[in-house]
């Protein structure tokens, strides 16, 4: 029996880092059950590095299907510590079993699809619930906007093109605990360092509150729908949600009338 081969990666390892290891493992023909994926913790000393890779055995050059690469890219954005092992297992098995990627009933594929689904939702939520506030900078022609958002997963690379394609005539900065996305002038820059929250007042937000209050129809109350679509975890960064109790009270008064 082969000894398990240990690989240590940082907790926020990117797709590229995982891919380099996975490629080497595949070339050395190491099956998933012989690989142990570890996450580097603060206690680890610098020498807790990955084992040297076994000799590459000359194999024929294989390509990975595009659909599979796309799935692997998604699941490697996930924060689950199991993602490295799962991704390698999916990769290994699809190389040996054609068409596996479409077999949604397979436990590995089902788990991968589930992770990919959570990533899609996270990306979607970020597009929806990022809120910019204007930061007035004197003597500058371009306008500056700043946002604070808390994504569940490492999705900044996936979501950045959306913001870059949407807001091109202003400068903006999205700060998150998992890094930042910024557009200054023409470039879009992504970092992975955790950011701190920046508090900015923007008076236009008052008009947004007015709109939110007025577009609500007090004759129809569907709180469950609202909560399932806009989960509670986002509310702390969506200031208009503070108006909800007051809106419900006035809806009640409206009904009694």
């Amino acid at each position: 029996m082969m000894l398990p081969h240990a690989i240590t990666l940082p907790a926020d390892a990117s797709f590229g880092m995982w891919r380099d290891h996975a490629r080497a493992l595949l070339q050395s023909n190491s099956p998933p059950e012989c690989v142990e994926w570890r996450i580097r913790s603060a206690q680890d000393d610098l020498f807790a590095e990955s084992d040297p890779l076994p000799e590459a055995t000359p194999t024929s050059h294989k390509t990975v299907q595009r659909g599979c690469v796309r799935l692997l890219q998604r699941i490697l954005c996930h924060t689950s510590p199991d993602r490295f092992a799962l991704a390698y297992r999916v990769l290994w098995r699809t190389m040996h079993q054609a068409g596996l990627i479409r077999a949604a009933t397979d436990p590995d594929i089902a788990a991968a699809n589930h992770m990919a689904h959570q990533i899609r939702r996270d990306v979607h939520d970020m597009k929806s619930y990022v809120r910019f506030r204007e930061k007035k900078i004197p003597d500058r022609n371009e306008r500056h906007f700043v946002s604070w958002f808390e994504p569940d997963h490492h999705i900044l690379e996936i979501v950045a093109p959306f913001f870059a394609g949407r807001f091109t005539d202003m400068n903006w900065l999205i700060l998150t605990p998992k890094g930042s996305i910024a557009r200054n002038g023409t470039d879009c820059i992504i970092t992975r360092e955790p950011c701190a929250r920046e508090t900015i007042e923007d008076e236009t937000e008052q008009l947004w509150y007015t709109y939110y209050r007025s577009i609500f129809n007090p004759a129809r109350i569907k709180l469950k729908t609202m909560r399932s679509q806009m989960p509670r975890k986002f509310w702390k960064n969506l200031p208009e949600t503070e108006l909800i109790p007051e809106m419900l009270v006035s809806a009640q008064r409206w009904k009694v009338q």
């Binding site: 949604a104 910019f132 959306f162 870059a164 709109y211 007025s214 609500f216």
Partner: protein, 411 residues
């Protein structure tokens, strides 16, 4: 006394809430990267940026240019004899507000409508001016939905289609009689002919001329409409057959159903009721079955004695209980159309099932991995390890699926 900007915003958005549509989907994909600097982009599936406690999403800045109106439509809060406060925004006000909201990522774009002031053409021209200013002066590439005034001139309509992603005209009432009695100034034939005109222009915009020249752009997001449910005597069957002709005859992207909300200062012609929200929900489910599941509307109501959908269960389940002879379905053998008929299975699950079936025989536990609810689907299917007790024989079948009785609220 002159009202502040915020007060006018409150009045004009309050007046717009009776339009159900807030969709920002179905248009061409655009970004602001190509063709110089601009603001905005569109996604194929639309984005909701907030939800209000009525369960509706906020995707567009939905607003009226003015709520002054020369018409007297009984169901409308802005009819000429209603006592509501009136206000008006200039085209520049609306352009400014749209851009500022957009920059803060509150919205996907603008849904602009208006009461009729002076004349149909004057009103339509003002609406078009907002869209034109946004597109040409500010390079706005977000979503624009314009409510169209049915009897405005064809030139204005052509220009509206040039800038807007979606155009809509509300048919308001499911039947012609309903419209005639509630909206004396509107006429059903005029509305239909305007819809036909929009459809003609959309078709023309897709065709290339023999010379290779592309015709001008026209509302790539299509057209939609809305009808009010529960204000007149129309049955669900009337409503759905009206939808069927709208979808097939005018190629509408969406028909919205709006449960009639009692409006403040209502006309005496109207019933004093709570909005029939559950009925509205069932109509949307039926609409969904038509658009994505291959049902036709006729099937859904033909077995209903009073022409109304069952309020106690969704129309698909209700249909299945009326057609027990086709169930249980063998999930490993049934064709695509039959899979779509099984209660508890949606289009996504059907695609996953068909793909998974090529790979292996589906057992009950596999369904769980496909995120299909076994509890809902079990009475209607067979798998190698599952066969329901004979469904067709049970007479108490309805009670099995009916929701548990609940106490009524006092209010």
């Amino acid at each position: 006394m002159k009202r502040t900007f915020s007060q006018r915003l409150a009045i004009l958005s309050d007046a717009a809430k009776y339009d159900a549509s807030c969709a920002s989907s179905g248009t061409e994909k655009r970004t602001s990267k190509s063709g110089g600097k601009g603001l905005g982009s569109t996604e194929s599936s639309g984005i909701c940026h907030a939800f209000t406690p009525d369960g509706r999403c906020v995707s567009l800045l939905k607003i009226l240019m003015t709520n002054f109106c020369i018409y007297d439509c009984a169901y409308c809060i802005n009819r000429i004899f209603s006592g509501v406060e009136r206000a008006r925004f200039s085209a520049e006000d609306i352009v400014w507000l749209t851009l500022e909201f957009y920059r803060r990522n509150y919205i996907e774009g603008l849904f602009l409508s208006s009461g009729i002031i002076r004349s149909s053409d004057y009103t339509m021209e003002e609406l078009v001016r907002v869209a034109r200013t946004l597109r040409l002066d500010h390079n706005f590439r977000g979503y624009i939905h314009l409510k169209t005034i049915p009897d405005a001139s064809p030139e204005l309509l052509a220009e509206a289609g040039l800038y807007a992603d979606r155009l809509s005209i509300n048919v308001e009432m499911p039947t012609e009689q309903g419209l005639a009695s509630y909206a004396p100034e509107k006429n059903a034939a005029g509305i239909r002919s305007a819809m036909g005109h929009i459809r003609y222009r959309m078709d023309a915009a897709r065709e290339k001329a023999p010379s290779g020249r592309r015709p001008p752009r026209f509302a790539p997001g299509g057209q939609s409409t809305q009808m009010i449910v529960g204000a007149d005597a129309a049955t669900d069957q009337d409503i759905l057959s009206s939808s069927a002709s709208l979808y097939t005859g005018y190629q509408l992207r969406r028909v919205y159903y709006s449960a009639f909300s009692p409006i403040p200062d209502a006309s005496v012609k109207l019933p004093l009721i709570r909005p029939p929200l559950l009925r509205e929900h069932r109509l949307y489910q039926a609409d969904w079955l038509f658009r994505f599941y291959g049902f036709n509307f006729q099937e859904l109501t033909e077995n209903r004695p009073d022409g109304m959908l069952d309020l106690e269960m969704d129309p698909k389940l209700s249909w299945a209980l009326d057609h027990r002879d086709i169930f249980p379905v063998d999930i490993n053998r049934a064709d695509r159309e039959t899979l779509f008929r099984i209660p508890g299975i949606g289009p996504r699950s059907v695609i996953a099932l068909l793909a998974a079936r090529k790979h292996r025989t589906i057992r009950l536990e596999d369904l769980e991995r496909l995120k299909i609810s076994i509890r809902k689907i079990r009475p209607f299917i067979t798998t190698p390890d599952w066969r329901p007790t004979r469904l067709a024989d049970r007479t108490d079948l309805r009670t099995l699926f009916k929701p548990a009785p609940a106490q009524l609220s006092l209010l």
